[in-house]
Symmetry: C2
Subunit: 448 residues, 2 copies
């Protein structure tokens, strides 16, 4: 058969005959895959920039240590609304010689038998060594406008209701550390000290590319037979954006080696982390591993992982046009790509964001029902109920866990970590299932 | 004494003589305060608007039920890369008559002894009733380009590796419900069905006002004696923004009744929820309750709550210039205002955002150390450690819990709910403290 006589489609199909009928990639265990990710992560050190505190939003990550530029409080202040007194005067009458409010300090000096009215946060006047709250006093004499004499009902003790200078924060003490995630309290703290600018980490950028001849844009009015709308891209973009990363839409690439090579090369100009979905399994159109390895000359760190859902999950690392990149080639099934994004991509991005903690939080939960174990370790999507009996949250599977079933992700709050069948054995018996009520580790992936 | 002869300052101080020396407001119990908030919340029903799915970001809340506009999959598709076969043909040889890839369906009909190559997601051709994965086949004959004859190694069963039409989602079934918070999975799902627009709830708006003569803007280069920088405002703005609400900066108001009245009136034009801090305690400059009740004619729902930190927390409701408003007048201490914002303001805003769950998540934790109980129920800030022994997270207090100490909020992940001293008694003994290792409820307030 003359090669000249072949149509383009025929040429492509010719590869089918030569394809491997078993995957050439060993399925590595999860802990090995995660270790590879951690090693890779260290190559993508976070970058920092100077940022105005006035524009800081929750979720940014601090890239410097912040030390207190002054004592808090700066002077002795009152904890209560009441009277600054000399403690050794005891209970009884006091002449009121003035007032010291927050924002209106007194410059008088207290002598025995005298007191000065103070409000919460007001500066303690010279000579005073205690505050008596207004509730513990009586007004004895006034001139119709001002208090002249009051009675202290209970003898005060020295330092009572006084915030000493530097008692909350000492000048020079560490306020916030590198890697600290800015929340409302941290932003308030920076403002309390009048800090105007801080060094924060840049948000890591990640490019999201969908691959597949069968994909159409979700806004297309008609979807031809055999085609589906591309939901992976919007899903992954939202996933990364929800985690405070900068996610860039790289579109859809057709299943052709040249197209894939070009699309990934373009993506590498926008981000050093590239996430694709589809094209990594055993299908005749699954060219991604070949493209990554042979055309882009990246080193495939792993080409399969012994887990579910996401067996063909692939990670490659290297340089494209002198830019260091990592490509996460996730499986095309929407559930697999979502789970693998959480397990593999997010930890690397978290590191690159400057967060001190690489992995998502794990909690312990109780299985609501019996769950059959799979030959591979499995990450099942589950809802949790905090109120349902006992001290631990109760986890219920989000229905059928088949990897095409996008509905199994809806509202999912955790990924239950299930061991593979038979992995845990008690003596002679092989473990086939998780019993209802059994305690499991779970990775938090949604609002709990 | 002629009133004409008084300076303005003297006139103001004249009120000091007449001030109550005990709070006139009963300190209501927490459950009563929360019930009042829930009743109020129902007056601030969420509003919805039509929104393009392409612009949806995580955190928005759905205001309509979404039903599946089609079956998923729309036709029978393959779960694996392999061959569509007739199951009753059993194991053995098959003639390969064509191919059906995702995006390239076949229009051939299978006859006994024949098979059609399929890829994952590819349409199952007419006549076929099972898929055999490529790993379970051998190539027997080819013409150098195309597969001609293969061998099925293991007899397939009917329906094997076929996703039936509608097996993931049935046409017309409920996909997402009202009040559902949009996450990556939900956004992906809408795109998978080609849904272009959804009705979502508007983000509730909240105006944040600081009050106090002692306050200066955080960007001021000098802070005069007796003054402090206003950190409450940036803190509360960040707190509400971090929870996906629209928070508006209403500035600082001085402690004068006219100023406070004006500032709150202006704020009411921008938002129906107004949050102030400061001016609600027993200080001579604490005019807020008077302003809310007597000048703005709002009804004070409660003027003190029997809890800590935040005893003088005040909530008022009514109309300003025909706009229904609720004013949360929080205490001025940064810790009290932060805790009260979480406990009282956020639930009302969550309701107004359309979220089905009013209150933040509670988890159960183990106390890392002994904690002394206060006469009031207390909400202590704590860090949690998920790894530290046992199934429950271990909670450690964030240092000294005094309400002025902003540092006690840094990194706080939960509010430990402590009962008041003596509230729980076992027989004759009064409970004075929480023992190390005791299990407590905790409200989640930060990333865990």
């Amino acid at each position: 058969m003359a090669v000249e006589g072949q149509t383009k489609e025929q040429k492509e199909r010719s590869a089918v005959v030569k394809r491997a009928r078993q995957s050439q990639w060993p399925a590595i265990p999860m802990d090995e895959a995660l270790k590879a990710i951690e090693t890779l992560a260290r190559k993508f050190q976070p970058e920092s920039k100077c940022f105005p505190v006035a524009a800081l939003q929750p979720g940014r990550v601090l890239a410097e240590q912040i030390f207190a530029p002054e004592d808090v409080p700066r002077t002795r202040t009152s904890i209560k609304d009441g009277y600054a007194v000399i403690a050794s005067d005891g209970a009884g009458k006091r002449e009121v010689i003035g007032f010291s409010t927050a924002g209106g300090p007194s410059n008088q000096t207290l002598k025995p038998g005298q007191c000065i009215r103070v409000s919460t946060g007001g500066v303690i006047p010279a000579g005073a060594d205690a505050v008596v709250q207004v509730e513990d006093t009586e007004l004895l004499k006034d001139d119709g406008e001002n208090e002249l004499v009051i009675k202290i009902l209970k003898a005060p003790s020295v330092s009572q209701d006084i915030r000493e200078k530097g008692s909350d924060v000492k000048l020079g003490s560490l306020l916030l550390d590198v890697g600290c995630e800015m929340g409302s309290a941290e932003i308030g703290l920076l403002n309390a000290f009048g800090i105007q600018h801080v060094e924060i980490y840049r948000k890591p950028r990640v490019c999201v590319l969908s691959t597949g001849n069968e994909l159409v844009e979700p806004y297309m009015p008609q979807v031809p037979l055999g085609h589906i709308r591309d939901s992976n891209r919007s899903q992954l973009l939202a996933l990364f954006r929800g985690q405070n990363f900068k996610a860039i839409d790289a579109g859809i690439a057709l299943d052709k080696v040249e197209t894939l090579e070009y699309a990934i090369s373009v993506a590498s100009q926008f981000a050093s982390v590239i996430v694709t979905s589809g094209g990594v399994s055993m299908g005749e159109k699954d060219h991604l591993k070949e493209v990554l390895q042979d055309r882009l000359n990246l080193k495939i760190q792993f080409g399969r992982v012994w887990m579910k859902p996401g067996l063909p999950c692939t990670v490659a690392h290297g340089s494209i046009a002198d830019r260091e990149v990592v490509v996460f080639a996730l499986p095309g099934n929407p559930v697999s790509s979502w789970v693998c994004a959480h397990l593999f991509v997010s930890p690397l991005l978290r590191f690159s964001a400057g967060l001190s903690r690489l992995h998502a939080t794990k909690i312990r939960v109780k299985a609501a029902e019996e769950i059959k174990l799979s030959p591979r370790p499995e990450y099942c999507r589950a809802w949790i109920d905090m109120e349902k009996g006992g001290d631990l949250p109760v986890a219920t599977l989000t229905g059928n866990q088949i990897s095409s079933r996008l509905m199994s992700l809806v509202g999912a709050q955790v990924l239950l970590i299930l061991p593979q069948k038979g992995q845990i054995s008690d003596g002679s018996k092989i473990k086939e299932k998780i019993e209802a009520g059994e305690i499991l580790d779970a990775i938090v992936v949604g609002p709990i």
